[in-house]
């Protein structure tokens, strides 16, 4: 195998590994701009991964699995939103509980059930796939990958250009002032969590019915937390956040590819490497902190 082929393979798997992160990151980014530190991202991804496999197996359609994943993400977003921004339970506690619950639930359910394997269709773009080096990685992928072309600009537009997004940002920065202006703070935050749930669900479902075709225990393995870290180290900018996700994906791909390339390294170290690399890169790029001022703070009317 030539070096170009190796690079192409690593790129290809890097993209596949980065896609679920990027999808979830678009959701988390929007939720955090509205002031919610959404820890339950992990639960959203894991629940959606399981739900998508179960639905795909039951219906025989991997696409139905994707839809189910989105719905499960929405449900978790709805639950989180109502607990944190209606009943005003600490958002971190809500997130941790949901994560633990979903890990336990899916781990149990997978032991008592067996599913058929289904995967979404692969798209192969003629002509473009023949571009050397990047042609194959970019233009021969499972079709949900190309949803990113839609999701990323849409997220940006929603946050930066729509009235809804303007109100989300106001709510994430100074909820009291937003309230005086007549914006329903907690409603906006719940809505932001729904967007987050839908995208995290899509990401989790892609991981299962997109790449692997089946579910295994703790399949997301902390990817939700990686995404949260990406948003934070990306300094609440969408571009940097996605860059962080891409880096993690590539590092993960390297980890998988190195042994095949004949390089032997300590295997435990290799598992840690992508996390470490992503962390370092994000630290280096983390300048100009734009943290939403009210991030993680509950809003209660009348308090100042």
């Amino acid at each position: 195998m030539s070096a170009a082929d190796d690079i192409s393979t690593i790129l290809s798997s890097g993209i596949r590994l980065a896609v679920p992160l990027a999808l979830a990151a678009c959701g988390e980014y929007l939720a955090e701009r509205a002031g919610t530190m959404n820890i339950s991202l992990e639960a959203m991804m894991l629940g959606a991964a399981f739900g998508s496999v179960a639905t795909a197996s039951a219906t025989g359609s991997a696409t139905a699995g994707l839809v189910a994943g989105v719905l499960i993400g929405l449900v978790i977003g709805f639950v989180h939103g109502n607990l944190a921004h209606r009943l005003e339970i600490n958002t971190f506690v809500v997130g941790l509980v949901l994560n633990a619950l979903m890990l336990g639930l899916t781990s149990y359910l997978i032991t008592i059930s067996s599913f058929d394997s289904h995967q979404v269709a692969q798209v192969s773009v003629p002509w473009l796939r023949d571009i050397p080096l990047i042609g194959h990685p970019l233009f021969v992928e499972r079709w949900p990958v190309y949803l990113l072309i839609l999701v990323i600009p849409l997220t940006w537009w929603l946050v930066e250009r729509s009235r809804w997004g303007l109100e989300l940002r106001a709510v994430g920065e100074q909820p009291q002032a937003a309230d005086v202006t007549g914006i329903r703070v907690n409603l906006r935050r719940r809505q932001a969590l729904l967007w987050c749930g839908a995208l995290a669900g899509l990401g989790g479902a892609y991981l299962a019915v997109g790449e692997v075709g089946s579910f295994n225990q703790n399949m997301t393995a902390g990817r939700g937390y990686i995404v949260i870290a990406a948003v934070i180290f990306g300094a609440w900018r969408l571009g940097r956040t996605l860059l962080g996700c891409a880096l993690f994906g590539l590092a993960d791909a390297m980890r998988l590819a190195l042994p095949a390339l004949g390089l032997t390294l300590n295997s435990q170290l290799l598992v840690v490497a992508p996390y470490l690399l992503a962390l370092l890169a994000m630290l280096v790029f983390a300048t100009g902190n734009r943290e939403p001022k009210a991030l993680g703070q509950p809003f209660e009317r009348g308090s100042t």
Binding site: L166, E167, E173, A177, V180
Partner: protein, 573 residues
Amino acid sequence: MRTVDERARELTPPSTPALRLRGISKRYGPVVASDDVDLDVEHGEIHGLLGENGAGKSTLMKILLGLVQRDSGTIMRGDTPVDVHNPQAAVALGIGMVHQHFSLIDALTVWENVILGDTGRIDRAAACRQVEEVSRRYGLPIDPAARVDRLSAGERQRVELIKCLRRDPSVLILDEPTSVLTQAESAELFTVLRHVVRAENRAVILISHKLAEITAATDRVTVLRKGRVVFHSATRDTTPPELARWMVGRDVSLRAEGAALGMLPVDGAPPAGTAPAETASPGTPPSEDTPPTEPPAEPPAEPAAAPAPPAVAAAPGVPSGGAATEIVPALRLSGLTVTTDGVTVLSDLSLDVAPGEIVGLYGVEGNGQSTLGDLLSGLLLPASGTVELAGRPVELERPGALHRAGLGIIPEDRHSSGVVLDMSVAENLVMKSVGDVSGRGFVSRRKMHAVARRLAAEFNIVAPSLDAPVRSLSGGNQQRVVLARELSAGPCVLVAAQPTHGLDVGAIEDMYRRLREAASGGVAVLLISTELEEVMALASRIAVISSGRITGVLPTAEATAERLGMLVGGVAA
């Protein structure tokens, strides 16, 4: 949306008042916030609403804006009675408000802030155009694309005004609009208001406690006190002294006269251990409790059991108004200036407190008192100026320096900086002197309890047990814990910031007694308070703070309503 010009033409014949309030009342439990208030605001006038803290200005405006529902009374726009259920209804009625605490989002740009709260698609170009148009029309220059957190206080105020004026209100309410502005910015603001009123025939309600502002900017003035309209006049027919008298009230002068006659002896420091509730009298402190306010005639009370700092012995009498200059003041603040976010919060503030004296720092809330409290707690550093204790300057940048130099403080917010709510009574009592109850790095629970038991008895702290968390104590007892801890360190200066805030009558009386005892024991007490009655009851001199400056220092005996009102209103009397 109609243009401002069309609207102005429609409004031109001002036959009926723009806004008429009749018999507006609002109670919060037993507290009457608004009591049968009548108010007429005409088209084309600036109507001043003058009053102290808690006079009912804010409640009245909240009712107008639909933030609070009235208990009774009628609101009329023109000839039609209206209901203002919520803020949206107020906007529909053409009532707009510029808030005292800015309602702008720092991280957004000017135009984004201005259109926040609208509905429909965002049109950036149109929004910027509108901002520019309004800004040109009223002479409020601003860059629509600038981020709000980069703007000065004056510029932010402009954005607030633009935001409000863009909705074309026929009644415009401004709540203490100059509290964060410089002189020049304030002058500019009033020019704009004049323009809005004259050229466009709007009605403006200007809420303020600054007399100069009211007399300079308004056409008519209404004075509120304790929820009632006490005075109403065309501004040109009244004078600042008269307004000051109405604002502060008659009771003050009565009290001051009593004090001046010397008929109120100091209460002979009852022995510690007396239950405070027994010595307390309900209601406002009766006049017998007012301390002597004719200093030269009155020798200080016997130094009581309270620990006496060295400076005390030298004090021959309670000094007043610069009479006794030879005494080294226990506390000397000189030239303190604090600036936060470009706003000068304290401006060249200087004040002396002599040993054995209680000086009251009185003023309307938000004039720099809490900043001074933070500064004397060591929480922030002044941009310039010094703090001297017993003649020695304190190195403020060293943590704990004020405490070591002998300054005790009862902080304004007792929950956040007075006590640790979830630690025990005993732990809170020894918190500033852990070294005294520990050896070899371990706290001796026996010593700690001994100290705590002694203090609890001395200061009448009622607690289920010394190991109970301070959270389980009543507000009065929590405050006693703070007081006991601070006084047990043997301070030469005690700063008490709003010491009776939120306490019941018995606890208030007890606090007053303790503060007097401390003073008669030689401690210099600086009482920071927004309660005039409290200051009158305790202090021998009253320093008035307004916009971060001391506008004047009066012996309590000379503190008439008029003079105090003038000083509170920012006019040197």
